[in-house]
């Protein structure tokens, strides 16, 4: 019973209290670069969930046989292998999305969330909790990606997933899309706002 509760924690904590992006500050690079539109943000989120879950399982299975000195190289190779698979799958089935994401799929390898979770969790836990941890952290990352992508696409181009959301009558009444939201620096401000909101709610996360 106690074990079950722990697994649930492992799965759901990263979504809010222990979010990899806004609390642990890992994997920021891609959050900023791919979120100008909602669709690539979702694709990226799903890719990271897949890579993180399976990398966690593989490393967790190998954890007793990896020599400590070369563990970073081993981890990188495992992750790189998985990322190549994801990259090829995207090129085959979602070519447009993979074009939009360009180098950022490759950069999943150096996404600090992966190294962080592999080091901190998979090296010391059994495969099943590691799998859940991978899913949880991947989802925590994807949630932030989707929130940022949602606001940037809605305010920046007035569309969601490519469909016009803000009605024509608004534009006729003088509403203008905020072009600044498309530019990368605004992603930082949106993330900062998420951090602000979240830390106002969870007071124990505040720094002094």
């Amino acid at each position: 019973m106690a074990d079950k509760v722990k697994n649930i924690d492992v799965l759901f904590n990263p979504l809010s209290k222990n979010n990899p992006v806004v609390v642990q500050v890992l994997g920021i690079c891609s959050v900023l670069a791919v979120t100008a539109k909602l669709e690539p943000a979702i694709v990226m989120g799903v890719s990271v969930i897949a890579v993180l879950a399976f990398a966690n399982v593989i490393i967790s299975l190998l954890r007793n046989t990896i020599p400590t000195n070369i563990r970073i190289i081993v981890q990188l190779v495992v992750v790189a292998g998985l990322v190549v698979i994801v990259d090829q799958v995207l090129k085959a089935y979602a070519y447009d999305a993979s074009k939009q994401l360009s180098v950022f799929i490759g950069l999943i390898i150096t996404n600090c969330i992966l190294m962080g979770r592999l080091e901190a969790f998979a090296m010391g836990n059994k495969p099943w909790p590691s799998f859940l941890d991978g899913i949880g952290n991947g989802a925590g990352y994807a949630v932030i990606l989707v929130i940022v992508g949602f606001f940037r696409e809605l305010l920046g181009s007035g569309t969601l997933l490519g469909y016009q959301v803000i009605p024509e009558s608004f534009y006729e009444a003088g509403y203008v899309n905020n072009g600044l939201m498309i530019l990368p620096p605004m992603a930082l401000i949106v993330v900062a706002c998420i951090i602000w909101v979240q830390r106002s709610i969870n007071k124990d996360l505040q720094e002094d």
Binding site: V25, C29, L32, V77, D87, I195, W196
Partner: protein, 205 residues
């Protein structure tokens, strides 16, 4: 001259932090004081200058389509580019290890001041990002790769040193809303500096 242009462009226009937002994780985590930030910047610059040409040579003579032609005509249509990610990251990881050992041997003082940051460089997105951009843009020669690497590295160094200096002052003198302290305000600062750096976008050299 061409290479010099690329060098300058890589520092300002294509700045790793403010234009591409690569290497943000260590950028946020290590920018609390100027000294360590500067050390990390130097290390990143060095790694970019070393790994970019190595990966360029790998790319042109081993990985890209038809690159293996020098082995003989029967290799002319071999395309290994799907391996490039794994090869690049392997080069970067082993280079990091090598540099770490070399620094430890010849300059223990620098080693102890850089300490934990050296191994972390292997997972700095700016380094792998540099190699991937190199692959995308088809640089004409190895010197271009060296110049671009140096430029990106210096740009990164510039960015992290500047932000560390601002954060040092900020921690002393300003009254920031509590939930924004630390990470939050750094994000906003970086965003503002990014907007400032966008003014370089129109510059043609």
């Amino acid at each position: 001259m061409e290479n010099f242009n690329i060098f300058i462009r890589s520092i300002f226009v294509d700045n790793m932090i403010f234009a591409y937002f690569l290497g943000m994780c260590s950028f946020i985590a290590v920018s609390k004081n100027v000294k360590t930030a500067f050390g990390l910047g130097i290390a990143v610059t060095f790694m970019l200058v070393v790994t970019l040409p190595v990966n360029y040579l790998l790319q042109t003579y081993v990985l890209s389509a038809g690159a293996l032609q020098w082995l003989g005509p029967e290799f002319a249509d071999v395309d290994l580019s799907f391996l490039s990610l794994i090869m690049f990251i392997a080069v970067i990881a082993s280079m990091t290890q090598l540099v770490e050992m070399a620094v430890e041997k010849y300059s223990p003082a620098l080693y102890s001041s850089l300490g934990i940051f050296l191994p972390l460089i292997a997972v700095n997105c700016a380094i792998l990002g540099g190699s991937l951009f190199m692959q995308q843009r088809d640089f004409p020669s190895v010197w271009t790769a060296v110049c671009a690497g140096g430029g990106w590295g210096l740009g990164w160094l510039l960015a992290i040193t500047a932000i560390a200096a601002i954060r040092e002052r900020l921690a002393e003198y300003s009254n920031i809303p509590k939930p924004l302290r630390g990470v939050g305000i750094t994000f906003i600062l970086t965003a503002l500096m990014g907007i400032a750096f966008m003014s370089f976008l129109g510059i043609k050299i």
